[in-house]
């Protein structure tokens, strides 16, 4: 049987042709042929510094990487749902910056302690950072719980981004002098990017708090819902204590005072009194950094990982 053409073929015959020519644009291959993905740390010296426990460094990189990955995924869920085009684009841009940080940090975790990377079927071309993102279960994720809880409205997003970026910016400023040159480089870069994130969130917090009664009610409701998860960010996990002691990581407790000053400044300008909330307990004292999460993380991962898990060899 001869080929059927509904119209004369020409160079613009099929709008989808162009989509299948360049695999580098696809997060998980084009499904036809999996091009080996570029190593984000190609040519970078990934030697673990003297006196540092490689396993502790790997765990620490997972903590920082997972915070960024899960926050990025929550923000990315808002794409096309922003209150206006500018904010939609801003949120997607911020999600992209965090995804970039996650990619480098997960790659760094894999290079420091290859045993953290899940085993995939023989011949799978999935790079280590993707294996970590897409093939770990919820209890292997080390992010704080604040980044995983479901999205609320725009007020809630602004409150969460303010809390998260204030915390992470202060942390990364100190991490920029890490003895681990990869962490130091990721942090120095992240500081530049997250200065914009924090300003964006701070301005919107002020705008909403000083806007209408309804906008104020919403941003405060968002803040009040998140504050029970806030103290967890500054509790020192034993991994964080270990990497801080060897000069490669930062003890989050050390940046708490500085972060609170920033928040107080935003609250003062916005005419907001900090809501009084009680910290959300862990499960037998175990929290996000220990791999004990809220139910929301499982649902987030189910959506984020489903395609990769169905096709561990990158072919379908």
């Amino acid at each position: 049987m001869s080929e059927i053409h509904t119209h004369a073929p020409d160079e613009h015959g099929n709008a989808y042709d162009g989509l299948l020519v360049d695999d580098v644009h696809w997060a998980f291959g084009s499904g036809q042929e999996f091009e080996h993905s570029e190593d984000p740390l190609a040519g970078v010296d990934v030697t673990v510094p003297d006196g540092v426990d490689p396993a502790a460094l790997a765990s620490y990189c997972l903590m920082l990487g997972d915070d960024a990955l899960i926050m990025s995924q929550r923000l990315a869920e808002l794409t096309s749902r922003g209150p206006d085009l500018e904010e939609d684009i801003a949120i997607a841009n911020i999600a992209l910056d965090l995804l970039g940080q996650a990619r480098l940090l997960l790659a760094r975790a894999a290079a420091a302690g290859p045993t953290v990377v899940p085993t995939l079927p023989e011949g799978s071309p999935v790079p280590a950072e993707d294996a970590l993102a897409f093939f770990r279960g919820d209890q292997q994720f080390r992010n704080v719980r604040m980044v995983e809880v479901p999205n609320g409205d725009f007020g809630e997003t602004v409150a969460r981004l303010l809390l998260f970026s204030a915390y992470r910016l202060a942390l990364f400023q100190r991490l920029a002098t890490s003895r681990d040159t990869v962490l130091a480089a990721v942090a120095a870069k992240g500081v530049k990017e997250m200065t914009y994130h924090r300003d964006f969130a701070g301005r919107w917090f002020l705008t909403l708090a000083q806007g209408t009664e309804e906008s104020r009610r919403r941003v405060l409701a968002g803040l009040t819902g998140l504050l029970p998860l806030w103290p967890e960010l500054f509790e020192t996990h034993e991994v964080e204590a270990a990497v801080a002691a060897t000069g490669v990581g930062v003890d989050p407790a050390a940046v708490e005072a500085e972060v609170e000053v920033v928040l107080d400044e935003v609250f003062a300008v916005s005419g907001v009194e900090r809501p009084d909330t009680r910290p959300l307990a862990g499960v037998q004292r175990l929290k996000g950094r220990d791999g004990r999460h809220t139910e929301a993380l499982s649902r987030l991962l189910a959506e984020m990982q489903v395609v990769a898990r169905e096709h561990p060899t990158g072919r379908w």
């Binding site: 040519g43 970039g100 300003d199 301005r203």
Partner: protein, 170 residues
């Protein structure tokens, strides 16, 4: 033999410096400050690039474009490595690069901020001296700090009323 080495190093550099940015095609990677080093070793050409933004999706395309250009120029072995030691800053965009941006309707960045100690919050709109690349007016205002790509903010001109992109300082 020595002369040959030098000659091909100069040629490799020349070829690499002609490769343009996939998202800002009016700029070469050299003018953007992304191309950090080109050298010829016993193993072929080694090129170092520094990403503009951590999540820059154009990095893979840049690597491929550099590899292709050098291979087409006769360098069989090309390795592109990532250099993260010093983070990219808009201060690395050359004068020629800034002219090219302006000619294409994009406002070039001012001087990147430097920080000692904790970074201050900026709760008011950022104040930059931004000149409209369309009409040259300096009566411009920021529409959004995030734009069509990670590196740009959105502006509008209060005289000619045209919107335009501004490469933001980092």
């Amino acid at each position: 033999m020595m002369e040959m080495g030098k000659l091909s190093a100069a040629m490799a550099r020349k070829v690499a410096e002609r490769v343009t940015d996939p998202e800002l095609p009016m700029l070469t990677l050299a003018d953007l400050g992304v191309l950090r080093d080109v050298r010829v070793t016993d193993h072929g050409v080694e090129v170092a690039i520094t990403p503009t933004y951590t999540g820059c999706p154009a990095m893979a395309a840049m690597r491929d474009d550099l590899t292709r250009a050098l291979q087409e120029a006769g360098f069989a072995e090309v390795a592109v490595r990532v250099d993260l030691a010093e983070p990219w800053t808009t201060d690395w965009i050359t004068e020629r690069g800034r002219r090219a941006l302006r000619q294409h309707g994009i406002s070039p960045p001012g001087v990147a901020p430097r920080h000692d100690g904790p970074i201050a919050l900026t709760l008011r709109p950022v104040r930059r001296v931004v000149v409209c690349p369309q009409c040259g007016s300096n009566r411009t205002e920021v529409t959004a700090e995030f734009g069509s790509t990670a590196c740009k903010a959105l502006y509008r001109c209060l005289d000619c009323l045209e919107p335009f992109d501004h490469v933001k300082e980092i």
